[in-house]
C-alpha cells in the first residue's frame, strides 16, 4: 500500500526524517520503502537506503506560479505565450505548446485564478518529449522568433506521473502564495508498506498512523466523524435484513439526498493519484478516499434505482446466494454464484457480491442525485474464498479478506457521507441505519510481568508494558504485577485464550521496544538427549565414498511425468520404470503442476539425471555423476506415499580426462561402473552381496547385472539399453552406464563393526595359474571356487587375463589368476604351496572341468 507522508502528518506528528521513520517501521514489522516526490533523499548515518534517482525540484527555479494571461504567438499557431506570475517583480513569459492552455488564448487577462508550476532558466527537469527517462536543463533560446528561458511544466516534466498531454493547471487555491518553491507545495515522500497478514489493521492511512503514533509516542488525531444531518429519519427510507449473522455481523447505511455528481476537488484528486487510484467523480472518489483513510470499504448505491427496483421503500437483504443465482458485477462480468457466496440483495434480487465487488445495475452514474452509502462488515474467510472462487481482488476485498473490525463500519459510513455532502451538496438523512447481527466480542487479556520475561528474556516492568499498550490504544488497567488490556476496536488479531492472548501482547511489546534492544543470550537449559541419525550418517558416508570414487553429485527436480519415466522401458519390453516399485503403486500426481514436465513425483531418479547428462554431453565429453534422493510411491490404503531413497549413478564418455601426453582414453564401460559399485560396497564395508546377470528392461541385456543383498534386489546397473538411450536423446556413439540402487537396502547391510586382519610379517609366495574352462563358465564362479579351495593359505586371487585364441580349444577360454600364498606364522615351503595349488586345480576341475593351461 502507498501512503503519502503529507497525509500521515495530518494524523500524527512525525518529527523524524522519512528515512528514520521507514527504518523504525521496518524493524517493527511493517516493511517500508520510500519514493520521493521533488524533495531530496536524506542520508542518515547508520541507515542504508537504496539511492533514489528521482528529480529534486530546484528550490530557486521550480516554483508555484499563476497564469495571468495566455497570448497568441505572433508567428506560430501551435504555440502560445503564457504570462506567469511567480512572485517576482515582473511576470515571466513562457512560450509553450501546451494544448490545455489554448482555451485561454487571446481572451485577455484571466479573471478566475489559474495556478501552475513554472521552471526557470537553469532548472533541471525531465524531458517531456523523450520516451525514455532523460533529464535536461532549461536554457534560454528563441522559439519561432520569441526568446524563451522558462516553462510551465507538465506532471511528466516534474516526475509526478507520465502525464504530458498538457501542463499542470489548478483552479483550486493550493494554499500557498505564488513564488513558493514547489517542494514546499507538492514535495512529498510516499511510503510503500508491505503488510503481512497479521497487519490487517494497517491497510489504511489511519492504521499506519496509529502504528507510527505508538512507535514515536506521539498522539493520534483521528479524522472527524461528525455528520451534519438535516433530512428525515433514514428509517423511513430504507430497511435492512441480515440473514446470516456469521457472514455479515454488521451492516450500516446512510443516505444523502439531492447531491450533485461532479469531479472531486483537486486536493482529493491529487491524493488519490498519490495512492495509486484514478479519480472518477466525487461520490466514487469519496468511497475510495475513506477506504484508504480508515480501512473500511464503502459502497455507494444509486438510491433511486433501489426504489425503482423495490417499487417503494427498498429493503437491503444480505444473504447467501441461491443455487444458480447470478450477478453482474461492476467490471461487466456475469458471475455464476454458489451458496458459499454472500450477497447484498434487495427484494428484486442480487445487488452486489458482498465485500468483493458492487453490481452494475445500481452503481453511481452521472445522473445520480440520491446516494445510499453502505458500510458493512463481512466474514474475512468467506470473502477470501469468494475472491479465490471468482478470481477477483479488489481494494475492498483485499481488506475484508484480511479482517476488518466491525466497529469501523460506523466510522466509515459517517466519514464518507459527510465528505460526500461537503463535496457534492445535498441533505443527509438523520441517523445511521445500523444493524448489528452479531456483536464483536470484548476481549480483555491479563498479562503478567513474569510472562514477558519468560518469553522474551528481557525484564520489562509492568508499567512500561502498560505504557506501550496504551500507545497502541489498548485500554489498560494496571495491577501490582500484571495488567488487564482491553483490545481496541480496530484489532482482530488478539486472542481471548489466556496463554495465546498474552503471547499476542508480548509480541506487541517486543516489537515496539525493538527486537535489537532485547538481550542476546544463549540457552540456559539442560541439553536434551542427543542421538545419532544413522540413516543420514550412512547416506552422507555413501556420498563421500562416491565422491572419492570420482563422481560428481547432482540434485535434480523431484518432479517428472509418467511419459518421461515410461521412456525407461524400451518398446516391446515389459516392466515398470523404477526399482523395487511396490505392486500397484501409483504416482503422486500434482493437481496444479507448474510446468507440463512436472506433473507427478518421480518413481525413478534416472529420467531427470539422464536429461542432465544429455545436456552436459553437448559441451563436455565426460560425465561421472550420482544423485541420492527420494522417490514417491502412492500406495493404496495409505494417506501419504512411501518416500524411499534411491541412488543413481551415470557414467558416459572417456574414463579419464584427456591429456596431451596420452591417447584419448576409451569410453567408460560396464567394468568401470562395476568397479565403482564394488568400490562403494567396499567403502561401506558391505561384503554379503551377489550379482546376477541382467539388470532389468532399461539395461543392455548382455551388459548389465542386478545386485542382491540378503536375498533381495538392492539395485541394477549396466549399459543403458540402446533404445532407451535413443529415447532420451543421448548420443548414439557413446555408451551410457547407469545404475539405480535401493539406498535403504544398501545402508541396512552396512556393518559398522567390520573386522580387520593383522598386517602380515611373513614373506608371501606369488604364483600365476591359467585355467581353461568353457566360455559359459562365469569368471566370478571360478574365482569363488579358487578362493574357497585355497583355504587359509591362499591370501588372494586376482584375475589378470582372459584369453581366447588358437592355443585354447574352441568354445573355451583361459582365465589367468595371480595367486598370493601366505601363512601368518611361518614362511611357506615349496611343498606347502604346491599342495594348495593342487587342491585349487582339482576343485576347479571338479566344478567346471577346468584344465591347467601350459
Amino acid at each position: 500500500m502507498q501512503i503519502p507522508l503529507s497525509w500521515l502528518k495530518e494524523l500524527v506528528d512525525i518529527d523524524v526524517p522519512a528515512e528514520v521513520l521507514a527504518d523504525r517501521m521496518t524493524k517493527a514489522g511493517i516493511e517500508t520503502t520510500l519514493t520521493y516526490i521533488g524533495v531530496p533523499q536524506q542520508h542518515i548515518p547508520g541507515i542504508q537506503m537504496p539511492p533514489s534517482d528521482h528529480l529534486v525540484w530546484d528550490r530557486e527555479r521550480i516554483k508555484l506560479g499563476r497564469i495571468l494571461e495566455v497570448k497568441p504567438h505572433p508567428d506560430a499557431d501551435r504555440l502560445v505565450l503564457a504570462i506567469v506570475d511567480y512572485g517576482a517583480d515582473e511576470p515571466e513569459q513562457c512560450v509553450t505548446g501546451a494544448p490545455n492552455l489554448f482555451e485561454y488564448k487571446g481572451i485577455g487577462p484571466l479573471e478566475a485564478p489559474l495556478w501552475t508550476v513554472i521552471a526557470l532558466e537553469g532548472a533541471e527537469v525531465w524531458d517531456g518529449h523523450s520516451d525514455t527517462p532523460k533529464r535536461m536543463i532549461l536554457k534560454g533560446r528563441p522559439l519561432r522568433g520569441i526568446y524563451n528561458k522558462s516553462m510551465v511544466c507538465s506532471e511528466k516534466e516534474l516526475g509526478i506521473s507520465d502525464e504530458h498531454e498538457g501542463v499542470i493547471l489548478m483552479h483550486d487555491d493550493p494554499g500557498k502564495p505564488v513564488g513558493t518553491p514547489l517542494q514546499d507545495v507538492f514535495g512529498d515522500v510516499v511510503l510503500t508498506v508491505e503488510l503481512t497478514p497479521n497487519l490487517a489493521r494497517c491497510y489504511s492511512v489511519t492504521g499506519v498512523a496509529r502504528e507510527i503514533s505508538a512507535l514515536l509516542d506521539k498522539p493520534l488525531r483521528m479524522p472527524s466523524t461528525h455528520v451534519m444531518m438535516a433530512g428525515p429519519d433514514i428509517s423511513q427510507s430504507v430497511k435492512i435484513l441480515i440473514e446470516d449473522a456469521d457472514l455479515n455481523p454488521r451492516f450500516t447505511a446512510m443516505l444523502l439526498m439531492g447531491t450533485t455528481i461532479q469531479p472531486s476537488p483537486e486536493w482529493l484528486q491529487r491524493r488519490l493519484k498519490l495512492i495509486g487510484q484514478r479519480p472518477i467523480n466525487n461520490i466514487v472518489d469519496v468511497t475510495n478516499y475513506v477506504m484508504f483513510e480508515s480501512g473500511q470499504p464503502l459502497h455507494a448505491f444509486d438510491y433511486d434505482k433501489l426504489v425503482e427496483r423495490a417499487g417503494g421503500i427498498p429493503t437491503i437483504i444480505t444473504r447467501r446466494a441461491r443455487p444458480g443465482e447470478t450477478v453482474e458485477t461492476l467490471d461487466g462480468q456475469l458471475r455464476k454464484l454458489t451458496t458459499d457466496n454472500e450477497l447484498v440483495c434487495d427484494t428484486a434480487g442480487p445487488l452486489a457480491l458482498a465485500g468483493v465487488m458492487g453490481g452494475a445495475e445500481t452503481e453511481i452514474s452521472d445522473g445520480t442525485t440520491n446516494v445510499l452509502l453502505e458500510s458493512a462488515n463481512w466474514h474475512f474467510i468467506n470473502v477470501r474464498r469468494t475472491m479465490q472462487q471468482h478470481k477477483i481482488a479488489t481494494e475492498a476485498s483485499i481488506r475484508f479478506s484480511r479482517g476488518v473490525h466491525q466497529a469501523q463500519a460506523e466510522i466509515g459510513v459517517r466519514r464518507g457521507i459527510e465528505l460526500m455532502r461537503q463535496l457534492g451538496g445535498g441533505t443527509v438523512s438523520s441517523g445511521v441505519m445500523d444493524v448489528v447481527a452479531k456483536p464483536a466480542p470484548r476481549i480483555a487479556v491479563t498479562l503478567y510481568e513474569s510472562e514477558i520475561k519468560r518469553l522474551t528474556g528481557m525484564a520489562v516492568g509492568i508499567k512500561q508494558a502498560a505504557n506501550i499498550l496504551v500507545r497502541l490504544q489498548f485500554d489498560v488497567t494496571l495491577r501490582a504485577d500484571s495488567l488487564v488490556a482491553v483490545v481496541p476496536d480496530h484489532r482482530t488479531d488478539i486472542s481471548d485464550d489466556p496463554v495465546i492472548g498474552q503471547a499476542d501482547l508480548i509480541e506487541e511489546i517486543a516489537r515496539i521496544i525493538g527486537l535489537d534492544n532485547l538481550p542476546t543470550t544463549l540457552m540456559d537449559e539442560t541439553l536434551p538427549e542427543q542421538w545419532s541419525n544413522v540413516p543420514l550418517e550412512r547416506e552422507e558416508h555413501t556420498r563421500d565414498v562416491l565422491v572419492a570414487l570420482g563422481l560428481q553429485e547432482n540434485i535434480t527436480h523431484r518432479f517428472s511425468t509418467p511419459e518421461a519415466e515410461a521412456l525407461l522401458i524400451p518398446r516391446g519390453a515389459a516392466g515398470r520404470p523404477g526399482l523395487n516399485v511396490p505392486a500397484g503403486a501409483d504416482y503422486v500426481r500434482i493437481a496444479n503442476p507448474i510446468q507440463p514436465d512436472k506433473t507427478v513425483l518421480r518413481h525413478s531418479l534416472l529420467p531427470n539425471i539422464l536429461n542432465a547428462v544429455r545436456s552436459n554431453l553437448r559441451h563436455t565429453s565426460h560425465q561421472a555423476v550420482f544423485e541420492i534422493g527420494s522417490v514417491y510411491f502412492r500406495v493404496a490404503g495409505q494417506q501419504l506415499p512411501d518416500e524411499p531413497s534411491r541412488l543413481a549413478i551415470v557414467l558416459a564418455g572417456p574414463r579419464q580426462p584427456d591429456h596431451f601426453s596420452r591417447q584419448a582414453a576409451p569410453s567408460a564401460d560396464f567394468f568401470d561402473l562395476k568397479g565403482i559399485v564394488e568400490g562403494l560396497l567396499r567403502g561401506l564395508h558391505i561384503s554379503a552381496w551377489s550379482l546376477k546377470a541382467q539388470g532389468g528392461p532399461s539395461l543392455h541385456p548382455g551388459r548389465s547385472a542386478a545386485i542382491t543383498i540378503d536375498g533381495s534386489v538392492a539395485g541394477h546397473f549396466g549399459e543403458l539399453h540402446p533404445l532407451v538411450a535413443r529415447a532420451f536423446g543421448l548420443p548414439a556413439d557413446v555408451p551410457v552406464m547407469v545404475g539405480e540402487f535401493d539406498l535403504e537396502r544398501i545402508q541396512n547391510a552396512v556393518n559398522p563393526l567390520y573386522g580387520t586382519a593383522p598386517v602380515p610379517t611373513t614373506p608371501p609366495v606369488y604364483e600365476d595359474i591359467a585355467l581353461v574352462v568353457r566360455d559359459s563358465v562365469p569368471a566370478g564362479d571360478l574365482h569363488a571356487v579358487i578362493e574357497q579351495s585355497g583355504g587359509d593359505l591362499l591370501r588372494s586371487a586376482r584375475l589378470f587375463d582372459v584369453y581366447t585364441g588358437s592355443s585354447v580349444p574352441q568354445g573355451h577360454k583361459s582365465l589367468a589368476f595371480s595367486l598370493v600364498y601366505q601363512a601368518e606364522d611361518r614362511t611357506l615351503s615349496d611343498a606347502e604351496v604346491a599342495a594348495v595349488r593342487k587342491k585349487i586345480v582339482k576343485a576347479a576341475q571338479k566344478a567346471f572341468d577346468a584344465q591347467l593351461r601350459g
Partner: protein, 344 residues
C-alpha cells in the same frame, strides 16, 4: 726409474683433476692404476734395479699407487655428481604444460551448505530430524496455526496433489509437529533438532524462484527458552557460518506458527554494510525467519505453552550459497550443468 715414477705420478694427478665424465675416468684408471697401468708396468721393471734401489722404489711405488687410488675414489664421487647434475638438467620438463587431471568428484553445493549447517547446529546441541516431503494439509498448515482458508496461507503458494488434503510441504516447518510428538515424550522432554529437507512452492521457475528448494528448520523447546536465546543462538550460527564478527539485525515479522516473529539479517558481507547490488543497497542480507513457537503450535505438539516455550527458525541453503558465491540464477542448482557444479 724413480724419476719416471714421480713424473707418472704428477702427470696422473694433473690429468685426474681435468676428468669430468665416467668414461674418461675409467680410461684414466686403466692408464695409471689398472693391472696394465703405468704404475704397475713400472713396478714390473723393478727387476732391473739394484738391490739397494729396489726397496726404495718399491715403497715409493706403493705409496704412489695408494695415493692415486685414493684420488681416483674421490674423483669418482665428484664425476658421479657432475653426471647426475647433467642428467637432471637434461630431464627438465616444461612445467607450464597442463597437469593430468584425475577424475575428481565433488558434492553438490547444496549438500555442502547443508552439511555445514548441520555441523554448526550439532555443536550447539541440535540433532538432525528428517521428515517427509509429501504431507497432509494438517501438518503443513492447520496444526501450525494456519486455519483452513486463513489469509496467511496466501504467503505460501502450494502444490496440491490429486488426493484431498495431501500436499507437497511448502516449508520444513511441516515436520515441527512430527518432531515434537515423536521426540517430546508427550510434552515432557525438551528437544533441540534441525530439520533439513526439500520444500516445494507453486512458483514460476525463474532466475529468482524455484519450484523446489532446500530449507533447514530448527526448533528448540524447553522450560526456559526465550527470544533473547533465539537471538543469541542465531547470532552464534551467523558467526560460525559467515565470519567471527558478523553483525546481526533483528526485525519484527509475521509467521503464523511463531509469536513474536522476527526476520534475521546479517550485515552484507560483500559490501560491509555500505550498500551494494546484492543487498539491494540496504547493507543487510536476510538469512532466516524465526520466532518463539506459537502457543497453538506447542499445544499441537503436545506441550503445555504455559510451562514450556521454544523457538524456531528457518533458513535456505541455496539462498545462502547464492549470496556467498555470487550466484545470480537459482535455476543453476537443479540444472546440474557440470560447468556450474565444477566450481564448488
Amino acid at each position: 726409474m724413480l724419476e719416471k715414477l714421480e713424473s707418472v705420478y704428477q702427470q696422473a694427478q694433473a690429468e685426474l683433476t681435468e676428468i669430468r665424465d665416467s668414461a674418461a675416468l675409467a680410461a684414466w684408471k686403466s692408464r695409471y692404476i689398472g693391472g696394465k697401468g703405468a704404475v704397475s708396468q713400472l713396478l714390473r721393471g723393478i727387476g732391473g734395479l739394484t738391490p739397494e734401489e729396489r726397496p726404495v722404489f718399491g715403497k715409493r711405488a706403493n705409496e704412489v699407487m695408494a695415493a692415486l687410488d685414493e684420488a681416483y675414489a674421490a674423483r669418482e664421487v665428484l664425476v658421479q655428481d657432475i653426471e647426475m647434475a647433467a642428467d637432471l638438467e637434461g630431464a627438465a620438463l616444461d612445467v607450464t604444460l597442463p597437469g593430468r587431471q584425475p577424475a575428481m568428484g565433488r558434492l553438490h553445493p547444496s549438500t555442502q551448505t547443508l552439511r555445514r549447517f548441520s555441523e554448526i547446529w550439532a555443536e550447539m546441541g541440535f540433532s538432525v530430524y528428517r521428515s517427509r516431503d509429501v504431507e497432509t494439509d494438517e501438518m503443513n498448515f492447520t496444526l501450525l496455526n494456519f486455519p483452513p482458508h486463513h489469509p496467511a496461507r496466501d504467503m505460501q503458494d502450494t502444490f496440491y496433489t490429486t488426493d484431498p488434503d495431501v500436499i507437497l510441504r511448502t516449508h520444513t516447518s511441516a515436520g515441527q509437529i512430527r518432531a515434537m510428538r515423536e521426540l517430546g515424550g508427550g510434552g515432557t522432554k525438551p528437544i533441540r533438532v534441525v530439520l533439513p529437507g526439500m520444500c516445494y512452492r507453486f512458483e514460476q521457475i525463474t532466475n529468482r524462484s524455484e519450484a523446489q528448494f532446500y530449507q533447514v528448520e530448527g526448533i528448540a523447546v524447553g522450560h526456559n527458552i526465550t527470544m533473547s536465546d533465539l537471538k543469541g543462538t542465531v547470532a552464534e550460527f551467523a558467526r560460525k557460518m559467515y565470519s567471527p564478527d558478523a553483525k546481526v539485525r533483528y526485525r519484527a515479522s509475521y509467521f503464523p506458527f511463531t509469536e513474536p516473529s522476527m526476520e534475521i539479517d546479517i550485515e552484507c558481507f560483500l559490501c560491509g554494510g555500505e550498500g551494494c547490488s546484492v543487498c539491494k543497497h540496504t547493507g543487510w542480507l536476510e538469512i532466516a525467519g524465526s520466532g518463539m513457537i506459537h502457543p497453538v503450535v506447542l499445544r499441537n505438539g503436545g506441550y503445555d505453552p504455559a510451562e514450556w516455550s521454544g523457538f524456531a527458525f528457518g533458513m535456505g541453503p541455496e539462498r545462502i550459497a547464492m549470496l556467498k558465491h555470487g550466484i545470480t540464477d537459482i535455476r543453476n542448482f537443479w540444472a546440474n550443468d557440470s560447468r556450474f557444479l565444477e566450481q564448488f
